[in-house]
């Protein structure tokens, strides 16, 4: 199982280590540093690195490498999933997961890691349970603790860990009972030069924020559950009921959680919300290149396309870009050659465009590669797959909760080739 964990920052320093079995010398990380040096980009460090006696499995999150050391045959996904859980927990506790935040809360971090893993076996990874064991630091609590001498550590047995619903803590009480669900969809797409879709798929999630008293039992039904043929559920969802009736039935954890994630595959027709007209060209022998980009809404069902951000990695030979946006602002970083255009909202009457010239290094030959355009966007109140919640009911408790459902579409890895 997992032997040790090292946290390594971007400059290659180990700033925290934790061992669950015997101590593994930090020199084991030298193999990791070697791989890090070889990698051209920070994210290119291979996730599994063999060393003579151990294996290093790492993830990169928030510019921190979480390097787990294992010795025997352990499923790598198990380790990676666990590391993600560590990151999520830190973020949950400290708001951000940065080197500074971790150092600021090092004792809590240590206590958390101790609770999450025992001898390499996961112990408590549910945020609900952890919070019962170790209270998250807040300014107020820290002050109170300093004055009264009480601690962050809960005195109670984490009751939830043993019940049939280990994800929910007991004795939950709220004055305002509310349940909010966000249906968020991301479109991953590759659009080719001519504007036709090579591949497009939707990654959707339903995130919930449930603050309900007692042990509520919820059911959520959809207008068009057929869309959901590839789903991953939170453990609280009763799978049998879904199989039989296509209804989500569950006792929710308390607070924020991801109820389900789903995937609408490339075999279904996926609506593409924007189109891009582009002309990025270089002429042989000239030190100038043309840059011409226009965006327009495509299949948006009448909803506005907002927070549009266009970015593109221009060829290495480009020295500078002199462009003129019809709206928004653009920046060009001459070192990384990254062009970013913050468009904002697309007005269908007056399509946003970015036109101008790029200057090349004098005497340099025409660049070989074609830049790819990356697009981010948001569309409120619409799930692009067409998924719609039909109704939400609550059983098991008497009060009437306040319910809300929000839809949102975003661009995930939305790439246009030129």
């Amino acid at each position: 199982m997992i032997h040790s964990l090292f946290l390594v920052n971007a400059s290659g320093d180990i700033f925290l280590e934790k061992h669950w079995k015997s101590v593994v010398s930090r020199s084991v990380c030298d193999y990791f540093f070697e791989a890090q040096e070889r990698a051209t980009e920070p994210e290119n460090v291979p996730p599994v690195i063999p060393t003579p006696h151990h294996y290093l499995i790492s993830v990169l999150r928030h510019r921190i490498y979480f390097v787990a050391v294992i010795q025997s045959e352990v499923p790598p996904l198990f380790v990676i999933e666990f590391l993600h859980r560590v990151v999520d927990t830190f973020q949950d506790y400290f708001g951000v997961c940065t080197e500074a935040a971790i150092k600021d809360n090092v004792v809590v971090v240590y206590e958390l890691l101790e609770e999450m893993l025992d001898n390499g076996f996961p112990l408590a990874t549910e945020s609900n349970i952890l919070k019962e064991l170790i209270k998250p630091p807040t300014i107020l609590r820290t002050m109170v603790n300093t004055i009264t001498g009480s601690t962050n550590v809960g005195e109670q047995l984490p009751t939830g860990q043993l019940s049939v619903v280990p994800w929910r803590r007991t004795g939950v009480k709220y004055t305002n009972n509310e349940a909010y669900f966000d249906v968020v969809e991301e479109i991953d797409a590759i659009i080719d030069k001519s504007g036709s879709t090579i591949t497009a798929e939707i990654q959707g999630v339903i995130d919930a924020c449930v603050k309900l008293t007692g042990m509520p039992d919820l059911t959520l039904s959809f207008m068009n559950p057929r869309l959901l043929d590839d789903v991953s559920f939170h453990p609280c969802v009763r799978f049998k009921r879904w199989e039989a009736e296509r209804i989500l039935s569950f006792i929710p954890p308390d607070g924020n959680f991801r109820l389900l994630s789903y995937h609408v595959s490339s075999q279904n027709l996926v609506a593409i919300p924007v189109y891009v007209k582009h002309n990025i060209s270089f002429r042989e022998g000239s030190s100038q290149g043309r840059f011409d980009l226009t965006l327009g809404p495509k299949q948006t069902m009448g909803k506005a396309v907002e927070s549009v951000l266009v970015s593109s990695q221009l060829p290495r030979g480009v020295l500078n870009a002199n462009l003129n946006p019809s709206q928004g602002t653009y920046t060009f970083d001459p070192v990384t050659k990254m062009l970013t255009w913050d468009v904002g909202k697309i007005n269908p009457q007056k399509l946003p465009s970015l036109k101008g010239t790029m200057s090349l290094q004098a005497g340099a030959s025409k660049p070989d590669e074609n830049p790819t355009i990356n697009i981010q966007l948001k569309i409120q109140q619409m799930a692009i797959s067409g998924l719609k919640v039909n109704r939400l009911d609550m059983y098991g408790e008497k009060y009437k909760p306040f319910k809300g459902i929000k839809y949102m579409t975003k661009a995930g890895k939305f790439q246009v080739r030129t």
């Binding site: 499923p75 198990f78 206590e111 991953s232 790439q415």
Partner: protein
């Protein structure tokens, strides 16, 4: 107020200061001090000097302080074992605390203190905690057993903790079950053969029930454990699959992949025509695709596994090509894996799309990726024949870009395409030649030279081109030099008139001016060939080359099967069996896919029940009753011909008429009373007797002996003689013997000893029907009467055209020997290697096809222990016994010998022999359509290799 303040102690005497604070009366100050100590510890500072002071803080009812002290203890107990003892009492006390949280915490921490002295004290509290009323404590204690086992395995066994742990598998709480499984799995890893996780339908049922209710991590442990189970039949297999499938919808990708492993493995047992089989296949695709939308690290592991899955069952993902298309900001390790899978999924249906993508990738920035993309185009051409033309034109387009590394890579793959489709795309050679000057990488240069040499007759200026390379001959890498040498020799053979000078030049460069032995030797060989026999040289150098195929980059089927059983593990990421890299390879068992139901066994059952004799003991057969009947039943005779008859005709041959008399005379009147005989032996007892001692076939015998004497350089293995018939049971006649194969003839060599008081005469021999139709090819040659205390050596040639009946064991032979005193029966076993014929060497291609063709459940694997031969010596030795090595591969220091042998009845046996340098244990993998022979063949391997 944050914890960073704990890091900011730069004052002198830090330790001293902390010590003072730790001993403070104020609780608050104590806690702060412990926090500071922990903080220093986390960043690697040595604060072990404070051990006694910190331990003193342990006696507290403040839970946080207690935990902090525990943290400290775990870290430093090892370096301060004597001090750690001081803490023991508190632990023992805490283990009886009314609060289960504290009980669990105490037992958990104690397990983490890796000090021998402490472990002794741990046993009692642990035993209590394993039976604690609170499941939280029980599940913590279960893990603690694994910890303790790691420190002191013997102690755990002596204390009987393993049994308690096994009991916990039946616990009512799913979390306890999961942890018990996890602990047992970990312990089992260091005890490969202990049957710790004894899986039977009842435990499986319990595990499946717990699976639904435990945490995601517990599900992983349980699923991994389930994967080790082999269901009894397809029904059970299906029911497990049904209960595991819901796990495919879990949010935790590790759970999903472990479930995929279980399903991939158990699916093997399901009949393919079952509806459920199809449903299951369909259900596997979406979760695998979903894994690809996760974080890149997860994607990487998933992709490595998908790579295995698509090789085993391409149908699962055949429609999902698009999800493997590369996004430009994927990390490089994801990009490269996706490319691999794209090629594996490429088919006629989607090739156009794939090619368009690959062409797009070839213009990207990342050099490694671009190179691999270009290579991928070449692999597509080789894989999908219909696309070859399009691939070639795509490659030509890419060559036009003149991007140096793209051009070079393209030329390397075009060479491969030429080798797959000879005489088809040579028109592009001109374009290739244009880029000759830009090639600076050895591989590309070598490829180009190969092309020029191979097609020298179509390239007008081939000699000039090659000459230009020759100028800097000594600066080239060996690869290029070798290639250049061969190419020029080819050129010379094709255009001898104008290139004489060139070939002389290269030969002298290679043989005289080079230090490289490979190059020099090749040069000399060509030189001699050309000078002695140019025609032979032409045949050698310009011989037709075998076509290459896409299989070259597939994982070997046996390895693939093993890897499928390891889906989700490190083995699946490295595509190597765990034995190849797991530390010390302890506890590594080769896993295999279960065979599918309902095939393979039928034959053995039929024959088994038909033959009443099969249960006969291998020793002497009691001489009476129905056994006799069987033994003497009609087809008993030695056919008089010794020519090589068609092996399958054994049956008819046996039915020939000659026997009646032979039998009669053989058995004489002694058996007259036996009723079983009556019918079969009514034939007249005329002429035959004389022929028994007739010298006619004596000459034959001599011939055989001669043949044996000349022998092969590496003789076939001959087992030593053993006593078949002890004198006590045969009225003074003792027979010992063995079997040999000499010059293609099987002989039974016997020593007959007369231990009785009277002379023995009139020897004769007969065989019962047997598995391979062995029968004496001539009468038993005992020419002189055997006087008391005299021995005689006899060699009896055998044919394999006698009547066939399956025996148990397969190589059992029941023999009747007659002399003037009585008829005696005995049975003996012959080594199956006697039956390996001389033309048992299979064609490589045929071998590959056959290997794949034979169903996997006909495969069996054996270990040969303590064999200290290297693979070549082993191969030589085996060849002496007509086990032929067809090919040899070396993977990771392991030699894989692919061998074939043919039995006299035309049964082919294919084998894979794995020899690891320095490891005396060989592994033999046998595949044969008649799986029953495997055991016998294995015995031969063992016998041959060890003698």
């Amino acid at each position: 107020m944050t914890d960073s303040k704990y890091f900011t102690t730069t004052k002198k005497g830090e330790i001293f200061e902390l010590k003072a604070e730790l001993n403070s009366d104020k609780k608050e100050k104590k806690k702060e001090a412990v926090k500071k100590v922990i903080a220093s510890m986390t960043v690697g500072k040595d604060v072990s000097a404070l051990f006694p002071d910190v331990v003193n803080c342990m006696q507290t009812d403040n839970l946080e302080l207690k935990k902090l002290v525990y943290l400290y203890l775990m870290n430093y107990a090892k370096s301060q074992p004597d001090m750690a003892i001081m803490a023991v009492n508190t632990f023992v006390k805490d283990c009886e605390d009314p609060n289960p949280l504290i009980r669990a915490l105490a037992v958990r921490t104690m397990g983490c203190i890796r000090v021998d002295k402490i472990t002794e004290y741990l046993c009692e509290p642990l035993r209590k905690c394993l039976k604690d009323e609170d499941p939280y404590v029980r599940k913590t204690a279960a893990v603690c057993v694994a910890k303790l086992h790691d420190i002191n395995a013997q102690l755990v066994e002596d204390q009987g903790f393993l049994d308690t742990l096994k009991d916990l598998i039946s616990d009512s709480n799913p979390m306890v079950v999961a942890n018990a499984v996890a602990a047992l799995s970990e312990i089992a890893e260091s005890h490969p053969n202990s049957n710790l996780l004894d899986l039977n339908p009842q435990t499986i049922n319990k595990l499946l029930t717990a699976l639904n209710e435990c945490t995601e991590w517990g599900q992983i442990f349980i699923l991994d454990c389930l994967a080790n189970y082999t269901p009894r039949d397809d029904r059970e297999s299906q029911s497990i699959c049904e209960r595991v499938t819901p796990r495919l919808s879990h949010a935790n990708s590790a759970v999903v992949l472990s479930a995929v492993k279980v399903l991939m493995k158990f699916m093997e047992m399901l009949p393919k025509d079952l509806d459920y089989y199809g449903t299951l296949l369909k259900k596997l695709a979406p979760p695998l695709v979903t894994l690809l939308s996760a974080e890149p690290e997860l994607q990487y592991v998933a992709l490595r596994n998908i790579n295995l899955i698509v090789q085993r069952r391409p149908e699962i993902l055949k429609h999902e090509m698009k999800v493997f298309f590369v996004k430009y900001n994927d990390p490089i390790y994801v990009k490269l894996e996706k490319l691999d899978i794209m090629i594996r999924l490429a088919s006629q249906a989607n090739i156009a799309q794939v090619l368009a993508e690959l062409k797009e990738y070839a213009t990207e920035v990342d050099v490694d990726f671009v190179r691999k993309a270009v290579r991928a185009i070449g692999r597509c051409a080789i894989k999908v024949e219909q696309s070859a033309e399009r691939c070639v034109s795509t490659l030509l387009d890419l060559i036009q870009t003149k991007v140096n590394y793209v051009v070079q890579e393209a030329i390397v793959v075009i060479k491969d395409i030429f080798r797959k489709y000879p005489n088809k795309y040579e028109s592009v050679i001109a374009t290739l030649c244009e880029n000759l000057d830009s090639l600076d990488e050895p591989e590309a240069r070598a490829a180009m030279i190969w092309i020029v040499g191979e097609y020298a007759e179509r390239i007008d200026n081939a000699d000039e081109l090659l000459e230009s390379f020759l100028e800097g001959f000594h600066d080239e890498s060996t690869q290029v030099q070798l290639q250049l040498l061969t190419a020029i020799v080819k050129l010379f053979l094709k255009k001898p008139t104008e290139t004489q000078e060139l070939v002389q030049q290269v030969l002298s460069l290679a043989t005289q001016d080079s230090d490289n032995p490979d190059l020099r030797d090749r040069g000399y060989i060509y030189w001699r060939l050309l000078s002695t026999d140019p025609v032979a040289a032409k045949e050698v150098v310009l011989a037709e080359k075998p076509l290459i195929s896409e299989e070259t980059d597939l994982i070997e089927p046996t390895l693939l099967e093993e890897l499928i059983c390891h889906i989700g593990t490190l083995a699946s990421v490295y595509h190597k069996p765990p034995s190849a890299f797991v530390e010390g390879s302890r506890g590594v068992q080769h896993k295999r896919l279960p065979g599918s139901a309902g095939s393979g066994e039928s034959e053995s059952q039929d024959t088994g029940s038909a033959a009443g004799v099969t249960e006969a003991p291998p020793a002497v057969i009691p001489s009476q009753g129905d056994l006799l009947g069987d033994l003497l039943n009609l087809d008993l005779t030695p056919p008089t011909t010794t020519g090589p008859p068609p092996p399958s005709s054994g049956m008819q041959m046996g039915a020939m008429d000659l026997l009646g008399g032979g039998l009669d005379s053989l058995l004489g009147g002694d058996l007259g009373g036996s009723p079983a005989m009556g019918a079969g032996f009514s034939a007249p007892t005329a002429a035959m007797p004389a022929s028994f001692n007739a010298p006619v076939s004596g000459g034959l015998d001599d011939l055989f002996d001669l043949g044996g004497g000349v022998g092969l350089p590496m003789g076939a293995y001959t087992p030593p003689k053993t006593i078949w018939l002890p004198a006590m049971k045969a009225k003074g006649l003792e027979i010992s013997g063995t079997f040999v194969r000499r010059a293609g003839v099987i002989q039974m060599e016997m020593t007959l000893t007369n231990k009785a008081m009277s002379v023995m005469t009139d020897f004769a021999i007969q065989f019962n029907r047997n598995s391979f139709g062995l029968a004496p090819a001539g009468p038993l040659q005992v020419l002189t009467p055997l006087s008391p205390n005299q021995s005689i050596e006899v060699a009896l040639p055998l044919s394999t055209v006698g009547p066939v009946m399956k025996m148990e064991p397969l190589n059992n032979l029941q023999v009747a020997v007659k002399n003037n005193i009585d008829v005696f029966y005995f049975s003996c076993q012959y080594p199956i290697s006697m039956l390996f014929v001389e033309d048992g060497k299979m064609e490589r291609q045929v071998f590959l096809a056959t290997w794949k063709d034979i169903p996997n459940d006909n495969e069996s694997q054996f270990q040969i222990k303590d064999c200290h031969l290297n693979s070549d010596a082993a191969s030589n030795k085996l060849q002496g016994s007509n086990i032929f090595t067809i090919a040899k591969r070396t993977v990771e220091g392991q030699d894989m010998l692919y061998q074939s042998m043919k039995l006299t009845n035309s049964i082919w046996v294919l084998a894979e022999l794995r020899v690891q340098a320095g490891n005396p244990n060989y592994t033999v993998c046998l595949k044969c359509r008649a799986a029953e022979v495997s055991q016998g063949v294995f015995q031969c391997y063992e016998a041959v290799l060890k003698n």
